[in-house]
Symmetry: C2
């Protein structure tokens, strides 16, 4: 994602705060800077660590109190990959319908989009009498081909 779009995503978050009449504190700015400066999925603990790198005064409590604001704004999405802790994905602002493919060996995560799947999902949802609000598709696989190419960096 471009630097410009990331910057504007951060701006959108600050606007979200303003709209809810919430204060723009230095801690919230450090957290927002961190979140919208990366494409990576992160945990609360990582977000704390990275944010403290920018502003020592960020506490664990503030990180946990800010995460719901981030997801509520629609710019970050909570993800569950079956671990004890949650992951957060900062790429929903630009790609609200993207999906995840996870390698069960090396835990590499690839994001992808599919208009075809979106269309079928809408069809089915409608046929069952619902209106689609959001969707999550998670595929688990093994990156055998990537292994051959030497592109799977970790445990493969």
């Amino acid at each position: 994602m471009s630097v410009a779009s990331k910057t504007s995503t951060k701006k959108r978050f600050l606007q979200f705060l303003a709209h809810k009449k919430l204060r723009i504190t230095s801690q919230r700015q450090a957290i927002a800077d961190t979140v919208f400066d990366t494409d990576e999925h992160f945990t609360a603990e990582q977000l704390l660590e990275w944010s403290r790198g920018r502003d020592k005064s960020v506490s664990r409590a503030t990180v946990y109190r800010t995460l719901p604001l981030l997801t509520e704004s629609g710019l970050v999405r909570e993800m569950d990959f079956g671990k004890d802790y949650k992951f957060y994905d900062p790429n929903y602002a630009e790609h609200p319908n993207h999906n995840h493919l996870i390698c069960q060996d090396c835990e590499k995560i690839v994001e992808f989009e599919s208009e075809k799947i979106e269309r079928i999902e809408n069809e089915i949802t409608h046929k069952l009498g619902f209106s689609l609000k959001s969707q999550r598709l998670q595929i688990t696989g093994t990156c055998e081909e990537l292994k051959k190419l030497g592109a799977c960096k970790k445990k493969c």
Copy 2:
């Protein structure tokens, strides 16, 4: 699901235990009876409660120690609907590729299958250099049509 198929699913679990040279205790039987006697998704706490209805001697620890065996057998699947606790789905023995549609208002859950989506998932996974092992698709929506028909029983 028919009574007969549920009975045979339970048998498959007992065979799974035998195959792993694990003991068939009264507690494990009570838990298996409970799990394979329902089509409903359940939590660890519910499973404990229901199992104790059959056998007072079932403890919370045993339930938590049995759940991994159930998922490992492939007959039950761990689900995450974004709550603090996990749900378990006992319908994977018969429909290993089914998906979930959840009403965000009343939390009603509908299961569905789609060959088309399965095909596209396989295509994409292959194109990205992976072999598909499993998939989870979860759609969140509102059951407006069900509301009109009066079929949405809860908060709608």
